[in-house]
Symmetry: C2
Subunit: 249 residues, 2 copies
């Protein structure tokens, strides 16, 4: 059994927001005590080496498949949606009852599916190849993503927020903030970065998501986090990459 | 609050095992009372129309993004790993404590990632296009899948089972069966169906997974299920499709 006051350790690749960012946003909104291990200096036990050790199973327990990896007390876990559900439940960010817990997790997993599909626009063949080696396929996949998949996902989330009267048009589940709201904020930030034209074209269809994005951005803890050095910019090594040739015809 | 004795209703496309099968296997192993709604005759309230209604939100609650969808009492939820975690915890198939719950869910999500990548071998560009319209890309993606991704996933699961001494070489988590064991069984069945050559080539590297597959297959409830008409064969409309041209060089 772990205590809420224990320090969390996040193991994730340094140098990009990536999937680690979904975990960071929950930790920041919760005001939790955490270390972003790989971003600490080597002299203080940080560095990318610590992520590699975590993947090798050096933290104990079952060997994790991939980062992000969270350790707290004797618990070690991986998979972004799993970690966020764990943290969300512990810190009052996962809804009020079992129905809201399960809806939060379903939405979180669906948001991560959207993130994975956004990633695959630039890596439709293989993550082991460079983007430049799958440029033609990427162009075709991006077109399908922008024309069909992104509008389908965002349209679904838009309807969920619009129908949630308890959330006053600014929350996915129930009356209060839940961790999928934070994840959706991050995905909207990423889509706006990667596809300024494609995302711009869908904006008129998603007024409630734009309001949600704005509301999250102005929450005191999130606002402070976004202004801090802990927040990392998007770049061309992450999920969301700005390749103009993939941003629509 | 729902009771364990309540009847579960599964909403999933009829005519293919698909992602619904992961839910069915948990329900069958749990000996749960359930209806596979779309496979019931229309005259008894079944048919594909009921799945379409569920996606439109007619079951109440938040509108689900996609099937499988589970309803029990007043709860409605979607996302395969979410449903299996919910059922696994209720029926003693999710490990003994919080650490095992979280490891089970992480493994389940990773197994579903493998299933999604197996699916994308035949649909690397878009699910809105036919396989025949993305044949060239499919060939390239399948090669990467069989050479790199499938061995990476299966190698990781093999090590997890091999290192789990409590599971006697036949279980992913702890001493007893958990829902990711059932999911891994289904994925192994699917890979063996879709890629007889590619899967055959990796078999010497995964002795513990072969033992797990055999052990699951011979559990009394699973054996009875597999022999029943409730079990559906793989075919070329699902996740795992046998296209010989995608099965290695």
């Amino acid at each position: 059994v772990t205590k809420k006051t224990e320090r969390y350790e996040l193991f994730y690749w340094p140098g990009l927001p990536g999937r680690g960012e979904f975990v960071r946003l929950v930790l920041e909104e919760a005001g939790a005590d955490y270390t972003d291990v790989a971003r600490m200096p080597k002299s203080k036990g940080g560095g990318v080496q610590r992520v590699l050790e975590a993947i090798e199973g050096k933290l104990g327990g079952v060997v994790p498949f991939a980062p992000p990896i969270l350790r707290v007390g004797s618990l070690v876990m991986w998979q972004t949606a799993n970690i966020c559900d764990f943290l969300g439940r512990r810190h009052g960010l996962a809804g009020a009852d079992e129905g809201e817990h399960r809806t939060s997790l379903a939405l979180m997993m669906t948001i991560m599916d959207l993130a994975a599909e956004a990633h695959d626009t630039h890596h439709p063949v293989s993550t082991a190849l460079y983007y430049e080696e799958q440029r033609e396929e990427a162009k075709r996949r991006s077109t399908a993503f922008l024309d069909q998949r992104m509008p389908k996902f965002l349209g679904s989330f838009e309807r969920v927020v619009a129908k949630n009267q308890a959330g006053k048009g600014r929350a996915l589940v129930g009356a209060h903030l839940t961790y999928p709201d934070l994840a959706l904020f991050q995905v909207l930030e990423g889509l706006a970065y990667a596809f300024p034209k494609g995302y711009g074209a869908v904006k008129p269809e998603i007024p409630h998501l734009l309001a949600l994005r704005k509301a999250i951005r102005s929450r005191p803890r999130i606002r402070a986090y976004l202004a801090s050095k802990r927040r990392q910019d998007f770049n061309e090594t992450g999920i969301f990459r700005r390749y103009p040739e993939l941003d629509g015809a």
